[in-house]
C-alpha cells in the first residue's frame, strides 16, 4: 500500500512577519504604559486605590507587581518571544485592562463616575475619557494580541539569554520606579512642562461641553508674567514659604503670584484666615490639578499664557 505523502506547507513568511510585528507592537504599548507608571508610581498606587484594587491594603506592593509584570511581558514581546507562557499571561493582563476600562466606561455611561475619574492605564500622560480609554485599549491591545498568535514558531530551545536580559531590564525599571519620586523627572512624568499653553491645562475632554481649562478659569494668566504654585495648602514647606511669597507678590507687582489648589473649602477658608495671603488662592478641579504634579508643592512660571519654566517645589527666592 502506497504511503500518502504528508501535506506539509510551511507558514508563509508574511504571516510570521505579521505575528512578530503584532507582538512587538503590543510589547511597545505595554512598555509605554509601564514607563508612565514607573515615572510616577505614587499616581499609580493612587489609581489602584481608586479602582478598589488595593486588596489587604497592599496597594504599593500590587503596583510594583503589576508594573514588573507589564514590563517583563512588554520586553518579552518586543524581543520576539511568543511562547504560550508569554502569551497566556499577556492575554490575562489584556483582559484585566479591558475589564478596568470597560467597568469605568459602564460606570460613566450610568452616571456613577465623572469622566475624569478614570482614564485608563497610561497614568497622567494622556487625557482620555472612559469611552476613549475602552475603545482605544480594545484596538491597541486585543487586535495585536490576536495577531501575535498567528505564525508562531513551534518548539525551539529555551531562550535563556533573552530571559536573563528581560529579568535584568525589568529589575532596572523597577529600581527606577522606586527611586523616581526623588528624581527630577516631573516634566517627563506630568503634562506640565515648558512650552505648554495654559489653555491646554484642562479638566475634561475636548468633547465635554463642561470642559474647563486654566485660561478660562484664570484669564489673567494669558497676559504678563506669573508664578503659579500647585499646593494642597497644608504642606509644611509651602506654609513656611507664605511670607516669602507675600513679600514677592507685593514687592514685584509686575509678577503675579497664584496658588492653585483642589483642597476642600474648609481648608481654603482656614488658610485664608490664618495666613492672610497677599496672593490669590484659586480653587480648581482635582482633575485639572492631578496630571500636573507628582508631589506638592510644584510651581511653574507663565509668560503670556505659556509655561516657560517649571520647579519641583516652590518658586525661587528671587522672582
Amino acid at each position: 500500500m502506497p504511503i500518502e505523502p504528508i501535506d506539509y506547507r510551511p507558514t508563509p513568511t508574511w504571516v510570521r512577519v505579521l505575528g512578530v510585528a503584532a507582538a512587538v507592537f503590543l510589547g511597545l504599548v505595554f512598555l509605554v504604559a509601564a514607563w508612565g507608571k514607573a515615572l510616577d508610581p505614587v499616581a499609580f498606587v493612587e489609581q489602584i486605590r481608586t479602582e478598589g484594587l488595593d486588596f489587604f491594603g497592599l496597594a504599593q506592593a500590587m503596583a510594583f507587581f503589576a508594573l514588573g509584570l507589564e514590563i517583563a511581558l512588554g520586553l518579552a514581546l518586543v524581543t520576539g518571544l511568543r511562547r504560550w507562557w508569554v502569551l497566556v499571561p499577556t492575554a490575562v493582563l489584556v483582559a484585566f485592562f479591558l475589564f478596568l476600562t470597560g467597568r469605568a466606561y459602564w460606570r460613566f455611561e450610568h452616571g456613577l463616575i465623572d469622566e475624569t475619574e478614570a482614564c485608563g492605564c497610561f497614568g497622567n500622560l494622556l487625557n482620555r475619557t472612559p469611552k476613549e480609554a475602552f475603545w482605544q485599549d480594545l484596538g491597541l491591545l486585543v487586535v495585536p494580541l490576536g495577531l501575535s498568535l498567528v505564525g508562531r514558531p513551534k518548539g525551539g530551545p529555551f531562550p535563556k539569554g533573552r530571559l536573563a536580559l528581560i529579568a535584568a531590564l525589568t529589575a532596572a525599571v523597577l529600581v527606577l520606579a522606586w527611586k523616581a519620586p526623588d528624581l527630577p523627572l516631573d516634566n517627563l512624568a506630568t503634562r506640565l512642562k515648558p512650552g505648554v499653553e495654559v489653555s491646554e491645562i484642562c479638566a475634561g475632554s475636548d468633547e465635554n461641553p463642561e470642559q474647563l481649562c486654566l485660561d478660562a478659569l484664570v484669564s489673567d494668566l494669558t497676559l504678563g508674567r506669573h508664578w503659579v504654585v500647585l499646593s494642597d495648602l497644608q504642606e509644611p514647606a509651602f506654609l513656611e514659604a507664605v511670607p516669602r511669597l507675600n513679600e514677592g507678590s507685593t514687592s514685584q507687582p509686575e509678577v503675579g503670584v497664584w496658588v492653585l489648589t483642589a483642597a476642600s473649602t474648609e481648608t481654603v477658608s482656614t488658610f485664608q484666615w490664618t495666613q492672610a495671603p497677599a496672593f490669590v488662592v484659586q480653587e480648581v478641579p482635582y482633575a485639572m490639578l492631578r496630571p500636573l504634579f507628582r508631589r506638592l508643592p510644584r510651581s511653574f512660571l507663565v509668560e503670556d499664557g505659556e509655561v516657560i519654566e517649571t520647579v519641583s517645589d516652590l518658586p525661587p527666592e528671587a522672582f
Binding site: P209, A216, L217, V218, S219, W273, P277
Partner: protein, 291 residues
Amino acid sequence: MRRVFESRKRLSISISEASREPLGAVVSTVLVMAVLMTLAAGPILAAGPPIFGFEPVGFQVTLNGKELQGIEVYQAQSAGAFLILSEELGAPVLLRMRDGQVETLDLMKVNHNANGTVDVLAGATLAAQGGFQVNADRTGVMFMVGGQTAELKEKPPLLGSQQAAGLKAYDPHYERTAEAYSPSDPIVEKLRQQDQDVKVSVFFGTWCGACKQMVPRIIAVADRLEGSKITFDFYGLPPGIAGDKEAGRMGIEAVPTGVVFVDGKEAGRISGNGWRVPELAINNLLVNGQS
C-alpha cells in the same frame, strides 16, 4: 503680656508691704497707680504704619451675636488686613491678620478715596484690643472689641433668583471684577440688535471658585446689554448643588451653567470654557445653536 502680668504681680506685693505704714501707703499707692497706668497704656497704644488700598469686600460682622447693619468692611490683601467701619463698634477696627492683632483707631485717620478704596493714614494711633481666633466653622474670626465679642465672617451663600445688582450688593468683588472685563464691542452691538426675547439664566454658587472668576464677566456683559431684548438672571445654589429643586428640575450638574431661552424655549447651555468670552458664547448659541 507675660511681662505685664509679672510686673503686676510684683506691684501687688509692694502694695501689701506698703500698707503697713499709712503715709507710705498713700505715696506708694499713687506711685503704683501711675506705674500701672503707664504699663497699661504703653503696650496697647502705638502709632501704626500707613496701609493703602483697602478694597470693599462682602463680609458680615456680628457684635455679641447680633448682625450689624450698615457696616463697611474693607480688605487690603497685600497687607493682610481688614478694616471694619461701623457706628456700633465705636471706632474703626483694624484686623492685622498676619500679626494676629485687633486694634481700633481714630476715624480721622481713615481716608476714603474717590475710587471706593480706603487708606489708613500714617501716624494713626492704634489701640490694641487683643488677638483673634478662627471660628468653629472656619468661615471667619472672633475677637474682642471694647469688651464685646465680635465676629467677622463670610456671608451665607446667596440663594435663589437674583439680579446683577443683588450680586454686586452681596459682594463688591463682583462689581470690581466686572468693571475690569471689557466685552467685545462688535459682538455686544450685534447682540443688542437681537429681535427675539432672550433670557440667560445663570446658575452659580457664591461659594464656587470658578464662579468667582466667571460670573463677574457675565455681569459685565449683562450690564452692557441692559435695555436690549437679552436679559439675565442669576440663580444662587447652595454648596454641593444637590438638593436644590430648581437645579434638579433644570438638570444642573456644574456651576456656573447658563441656560439660554429664546422666546421662552431653551435654545442651549453655556458652561466650562464657554464662559471664557461670555458675549461670544451667547452669540454663537443664538446663531449656531452651540456655544
